[in-house]
Symmetry: C2
Subunit: 212 residues, 2 copies
């Protein structure tokens, strides 16, 4: 497996090419940090962009949903999709309006998602979703039963045609604007976990697990 | 202007309809809180999903980009787009793997973006982008000049065919699983601002503005 993706007509960055990254390791780090992807697909001549959770399993991106979901049924037919994961890292405040920007890391994957039908593979995929969100949780929860497995569609998208786009660092102003007395810099943004909220119906002797 | 959007074939939620919201006020609150939207469009028979910043200006969603951007040029031709904004509010940890979920608020808008050509409208739009990110900043930064206005494409998408999807609250487990001694509840997630990082080239006597 190559450590670099080959840029294609769809994934090559033409504008600001220095922001383009094709390294598998960097792309996988971004995918592993995110919780939500946006899936784009065309159905009935219309383009849809739907947010959903996901997990990475080796060189595949897994997506799941209800067997009753229109999106999942459409995608299970083997249509082409574009999946994008974006992590926002900061607001970039320049001296000029024009050079305001954002620091971010995004990944775009193009491909055709395949339906996972094998029960063992499907079970492993559902484990991957839980472990992606909260590592070590799978071992203590009630695993999916046959009915639940049937009620879930799991799709696997090969991570083959992919690229990342990354902006980091300070604002870049026009040289003539640097002497201006306008505050410039970066306001970092980060997704933070708050204090866990117990389900009111939780048995009172169940303690907060270490992984939280 | 109606306070409710009429669900269409594209925006009506068929599955879990209780999560669907068509109130203008709720939809606008979600749009005003987010920083990044994901724009989906089809070009050359391929679907693309691109993250970008945006601003709401009344009943329009504004998107901007470089005149050199392939996406912006495609959209400036008046193609149909689907724009999605997603705010992730928490991880929902159930007793069963199957009922794990996320709390989120998302908005989907379908429509055709129109190119803003009027210089005054374009200027107002650029102000809206800055004020969306950092209110009160516009008054002190160096405003865009004619060259910069020409180098920027601004598109305006009417917010007419839109819906929100919202999940809040505790996990919902199967009744039979409630007695299980598995921690269940919600881990809240929130995008937090960190300590602002000064541009190294900033004049040392420029203080951090109040709006930060």
């Amino acid at each position: 497996m190559s450590e670099q993706f080959t840029p294609t007509e769809k994934t090559k960055l033409y504008r600001i090419p220095k922001r383009g990254v094709y390294e598998r390791e960097t792309i996988y780090q971004i995918l592993d940090e995110g919780f939500i992807c946006h899936i784009g697909f065309t159905a009935g001549g219309k383009t849809y962009v739907i947010p959903t959770s996901y997990a990475r399993q080796g060189d595949k991106l897994l997506i799941h949903g209800s067997s009753a979901s229109r999106m999942m049924r459409e995608m299970a037919q083997g249509i082409e999709v574009c999946v994008t994961v974006t992590l926002l890292d900061g607001l970039v405040l320049a001296r000029s309006a024009f050079h305001h920007s954002m620091n971010y890391r995004s990944v775009v994957i193009f491909g055709t998602a395949q339906l996972i039908t094998d029960a063992g593979e499907k079970y492993a995929a559902l484990k991957a979703f839980t472990e992606h969100i909260i590592p070590n949780r799978w071992q203590e929860i009630r695993p999916p039963n046959d009915l639940e497995l049937k009620a879930t569609i799991v799709l696997s998208l090969p991570i083959e045609e992919a690229s990342a786009k990354i902006r980091t660092g300070d604002p870049v102003d026009d040289e003539v604007d640097y002497p201006l007395n306008v505050w410039a810099g970066v306001v970092p943004l980060k997704m933070k976990q708050g204090q866990p909220i117990r389900d009111p119906r939780l048995n009172s002797d169940v303690k907060l697990p270490k992984y939280l």
